[in-house]
Amino acid sequence: MSENKLSFEQSFEKLETILEKMNSNEITLDESLNLFEQADALIKNCNQKLNAAEQKIEILIKNRNNEITLDQNQTPQTKPFLEKPNASLDEEIPF
């Protein structure tokens, strides 16, 4: 099985059809078990894709002229964004 090569959407669609078949009551137990295995692999693949990335909260680094700064690869530079900076109240009107 090459479930890992499928995109999330493809896996998801395939899962839906497999489940439909499984619930149809028209297949043999062998077929069912085979489908179950496939579905299991697809579910794993989907979960993997959904949970793959790690949390990353960043902010673009800007210079005095409010321009983004580039590294040697011409990619904008970023830094981690701190969760709780001193929130300035001046732009929030409690209304």
């Binding site: 839906e16 489940l19 959904l50 673009l60 964004f81």
Partner: protein
């Protein structure tokens, strides 16, 4: 209106005034400065509108406040639309405010309306050009102020729901001069460097002036031109900005934008969870039903009621029980023998004999001891009584002898000290003739005095002739 000589009650007059006055001022446009502003817990506003020479009480009820862009305060120059109302219980009249606009806001609203019309005509607001929001964005871009509450609200929602999101913030000014240019530039930057899959543009609530940057054409243009889908979330639910209209999706608040962005992911997770459960249930259900069918097959008459197997089976059982019985008989017989042998061995054991002899010996030795002791005691008692008699006798003889010798000594002593015996040895005792006292010293007599001398067989008188000292 006043009829000559008619006497009114207060109510009559008040209601007459009310009936006369109110129709005259059904819809009044009034401008002035707010003073004595009061916000009641009910949500109604009460204030006075004044100018240099006059003031008028105003009541602004909660139900009319829907389109208010900013909380009024003392000193604000505003324009209101409303009607005059007479309030009989207090006998005063006041303005019932239907709408309130800060001065200058009217111009802004007009501008907003004009731009909206213009963009509409250009086709920028058409729903047909809206791009779909990616269901599972790999990286989420946020264009907002890094210090505002909005960014925190969004991050709170995003991180609360998922722990694996990739978020990139492009920090911009969201109000004041240059804000619109920064916002537009940030959107362009995300596009030029293809940094994210989706962009949230927005800020928290504020007055129409505060939110104005999001109503500028330059922002509208960058949103329109963005290849990356954009969610706009400006201010509160009631605020609709140009940015909201041009964006691919409008969220009522920044928090809601974050919810919308992750909605699909949450949905997918739920769906997959559901699939997984369904899958398990389906296979379990099928296995169960197959199992049931199999059990029914096993119970079929061809298997269950054919006798040939049963007879063999019964034979087998019989043989087994015979075997069982004979083995258990044999076992119990051996066991009995074993127990007997054990008993014999026990009685024959030297230890047992030793024990018996020991007991016998003990018994004998004890009885011997007892006999000896009783005999000894008897002898001892006899002997003791004899001994005592002898002792008493001996003691009394000794005592008697002692007394006897003491008595003899006493007599000898008495003999020795008898003065008459001394007289027999030649001594005599002299007495004074006058007083009969015994003369022991020369000082007791004088020359020529008569003295009496006592000797062993009588006495005689004598005269002292000479005294020598």
């Amino acid at each position: 209106m006043i009829i000559e000589n008619k006497v009114y009650s207060v109510s009559e007059l008040t209601f007459a005034i009310k009936a006369h006055l109110e129709p005259q001022f059904r819809q009044v446009f009034l401008k002035g400065e707010i003073s004595n502003f009061k916000r009641q817990s009910s949500g109604h506003f009460y204030f006075s509108l004044k100018d240099a020479n006059a003031q008028i009480s105003c009541a602004f009820f909660k139900g009319s406040q829907k389109n208010l862009t900013r909380l009024p305060k003392d000193g604000d120059h505003v324009q209101i639309v409303g009607e005059i109302s007479v309030y009989p219980p207090r006998g005063n009249y006041q303005m019932i405010v239907r709408s309130l606009q800060h001065e200058g806001v009217g111009d802004l609203l007009k501008k907003l309306h004009e731009l909206k019309e213009k963009l509409k005509n250009m086709g920028w607001l058409d729903s047909s050009i809206k791009k779909p929001i990616p269901k599972l964005p790999k990286r989420i871009g946020i264009v907002t102020s890094p210090t505002g509450a909005a960014v925190q609200d969004m991050l709170n929602v995003l991180t609360r729901r998922f722990s694996n999101l990739n978020i990139l913030i492009n920090p911009v000014k969201v109000q004041g001069p240059g804000a619109a240019e920064e916002i537009a530039q940030a959107i362009n930057e995300f596009n030029n460097y293809q940094l994210v899959d989706v962009i949230i543009v927005g800020r928290g609530g504020g007055s129409i002036e505060d939110l104005w940057a999001f109503n500028e054409e330059i922002v509208a243009k960058s949103i329109y031109e963005s290849k990356i889908p954009i969610v706009s979330a400006v201010g509160h639910e009631t605020d609709t900005s140009i940015s909201d209209l041009v964006a691919d999706l409008r969220a009522p608040t920044p928090s809601a934008a974050a919810e919308l962005i992750t909605k699909e992911k949450a949905h997918f997770l739920e769906k997959i969870e559901y699939f997984s459960r369904q899958c398990d249930e389906s296979i379990i259900k099928q296995i169960r039903s197959e199992k049931k069918a199999l059990l029914q097959l096993i119970k079929a008459p061809v298997f269950s009621s054919s006798n040939f197997l049963n007879i063999e089976k019964q034979k087998l059982d019989d043989i087994q029980s015979i075997l069982d019985r004979s083995i258990s008989n044999k076992l119990s017989h051996i066991k009995t023998i074993l127990i007997q042998m054990q008993k014999q061995t026990y009685s024959l054991s030297p230890k047992q004999k030793l024990e018996y002899l020991k007991q016998k010996f003990n018994f004998l030795s004890i009885s011997l001891n007892e006999k000896m002791i009783s005999k000894l005691t008897l002898y001892k008692n006899n002997f003791k009584s004899l001994d005592t008699q002898q002792q008493i006798l001996n003691k009394s003889i000794t005592l008697l002898n002692q007394k006897k010798s003491q008595y003899k000594q006493l007599i000898a002593h008495l003999e020795g000290i008898n003065p008459k015996n001394l007289l027999k040895k030649g001594y005599s005792i002299l007495f004074n003739q006058k007083d009969g006292s015994t003369i022991l010293s020369t000082s007791q007599i004088k020359e020529n005095e008569s003295i009496k001398a006592l000797v062993s067989d009588g006495e005689f008188l004598a005269t002292v002739t000479k005294i020598k000292e």
